[in-house]
């Protein structure tokens, strides 16, 4: 790519612009795809991307889906900034859901919202515990947290499968792999009548604010940022690599666990064979498209949420395959990574004013000339 050269300083404009460019590119590609699938491109575009946000109920659904994405995304972003790659968020989410469900089912005859509180704590703890495994293995045994956390996703899925087919299965459920429905005190209160959006949204917003504060104002956030940008500088400054790894995984694990509890105590209302359509993985995309900034993550989760909901309505109204959603999500991340190129590189400009070199340090001639 000899037509491009490295920028002396990364471009601020492109840092803000690249997600927008990526989103536009994805929208353009999707329109082309609609056409290729035999749809009216503009109508399909409307049904997929615009219609879901046109009703109050639709906005409620958007916010509902954005909640777990934001919770997971915020946590992942903090980790990615420090080069700690928690790919197993979906597993931590699943374990959080399981823990919350266990509490709900154990105390199913209890009254009072303390059950809900306990469920939330259990979910966060379970997520953190599940993330502690890759943290421990990375800090003690130098194993890649990418591979370990990912393997644990499959393990978590299998644990869930075992539970809903066995010990936690609803005896009155006609042998479906799902648990009893939770009682009212184990369900998150709704924010507004008629919408499924619940209190978890507030958790997500608090998480965004807390993450922003953490990243920009705390020293711990600074340490993680430096570790990701310049590991040698972090070592030089005396920042503990291990502390950063634990912090990153505990935060993202806890938030993912919270997202998991939020799902089963929210729209699902019980424990099922699958509690997540891959939120933990979609959150990776959300984190990057949000440029690893908390506010950006919130906006990106809304976009991602739109992709999920739009996919569902497009399937119903236009008989478009639901698998299109996953395709769009992958494309979005590809476009973002490609657009990021322009943050650090630009087209070679024509040469105008050039400054000559300043002479660099001379080692002065030796004190005594040689014989």
């Amino acid at each position: 790519m000899s037509r491009f050269e490295a920028r002396p300083i990364p471009s601020r404009r492109m840092m803000l612009g690249s997600p927008l460019i990526a989103a536009c590119a994805m929208l353009l590609t999707s329109t082309i795809l609609f056409y290729a699938l035999g749809q009216q491109p503009l109508h399909a575009f409307y049904v997929y991307f615009i219609e879901p946000a046109m009703t109050t109920y639709g906005i409620g659904e958007l916010l509902l889906k954005a909640t777990p994405l934001t919770l997971c995304g915020v946590g992942l972003a903090i980790g990615f900034r420090a080069n700690v790659f928690n790919i197993g968020a979906d597993g931590q989410l699943t374990m959080g859901a399981i823990a919350g469900a266990c509490v709900a089912l154990y105390f199913q005859d209890a009254q009072g919202y303390w059950v809900l509180g306990l469920m939330l704590l259990a979910g966060i703890a379970a997520g953190m515990l599940w993330a502690a495994i890759p943290a421990l293995l990375r800090t003690r045994f130098n194993t890649s947290e990418i591979l370990v956390s990912l393997m644990l996703v499959y393990v978590a899925y299998l644990i869930l499968s075992y539970l809903v087919h066995g010990p936690l299965r609803d005896p009155n459920g006609f042998n479906f792999p799902q648990s009893r429905m939770f009682n009212d005190h184990a369900i998150l209160p709704l924010l507004m009548d008629g919408l499924r959006t619940n209190v978890a949204l507030l958790f997500a917003l608090v998480a965004v604010a807390a993450a922003w504060f953490f990243c920009s104002r705390t020293f711990a956030g600074y340490r993680m940022k430096v570790s990701g940008m310049a590991p040698a500088a972090a070592a030089y400054a005396g920042f503990s690599d291990n502390a950063n790894i634990w912090l990153a995984l505990m935060i993202s694990g806890g938030l993912a666990g919270l997202a998991g509890v939020g799902e089963v105590a929210g729209p699902i209302g019980q424990l099922q064979a699958s509690v997540s359509p891959g939120y933990g993985f979609a959150a990776i995309i959300v984190a990057y498209v949000g440029r690893l900034q908390p506010i950006g993550v919130l906006l990106a989760s809304l976009l991602m949420s739109l992709l999920y909901i739009g996919g569902e309505s497009a399937q119903i109204e236009l008989q478009l395959p639901s698998a299109i959603t996953g395709l769009f999500q992958g494309l979005l991340l590809f476009y973002l990574l490609a657009a990021d190129f322009f943050i650090h590189y630009r087209l070679k400009p024509k040469f105008t004013n050039l400054t000559p070199l300043t002479p660099v340090a001379l080692v002065t001639p030796p004190m005594s000339p040689l014989p």
Partner: protein
Amino acid sequence: MNTNYAISFLASTAGAATPLILAATGELVVERAGVLNLGVEGMMLVGAVAGFGVTFSSGSALLGLAAAMLAGLLVSLIFGLLTLSLQTNQVATGLALTLFGVGLSAFLGRHYVGQSVAPLPHLALPGLSDLPFVGPLLFQFDGMIYFSMIMVVVVDLMLIHTRLGLIIRAIGESPHNAHAIGYPVILLRYAMVAFGGAMAGLAGAYLSLGLTPMWVEGMSAGRGWIALALVVFATWKPRGLILGAYLFGGVTVLQFHGQGFGLPIPSEFLSMLPYLATIVVLVLICRDPKTILLNKPMSLGQSFRAD
């Protein structure tokens, strides 16, 4: 335990090991050249759906396998374009490739769910099939099992004894030095990435044509990630891949034979074994930092740009 049972167990182990060997061999070459491609899972799925789809439509498994290699190669080139020419972060791009591959394969395969094709035929090698014990075992092997073992040997010889192998190893250690000598580093890395993609695609096709002749969304179930772990386990030397893959193959197959052994363990826990084994194996290898420092290609994961 009688002989027939043992043969059947070993044969299924070989079957389970084969996609791992294929994918890991491809990824090993890519990593020796200094590029970390985490998208193996995505490429395998794309290969699986392409292989199944083409075989289903054309009736020819050979055509299907070729299509799978091509499909894996093509998506790997997206990764190549981003990381080699646009300097994107290799980890993020690899993850993107996986997610994209999952989505793309689900999309392309939507019409194939529930369909079936004829599985790959077993290969009856003349003479060998008549040997005691080994004969009936080999009789259960299809061509891909042999192919995968040949590929490992070929890649091993290539890396150690050929000029190309020397160049790949040099690029993997220091792309800047290789570039200074005059080697087309980016072009060679593209070629290696493409090779890795083709191998991953082939591995995926073996899943949908050989092991379980059908298409299901996400049917690789993490095998692509296990292949990545295998490369580490083998400390980037092809010889270690066979041992590792057969170990994993055996563990994977245990979940089906678990009931046969009369173990009172729920099937889900047996299914966990490959994943847990991966973690254990990684810990064992990575524990001593010297092992990794000595064997990991020095430029692995770092972007390279020719000035």
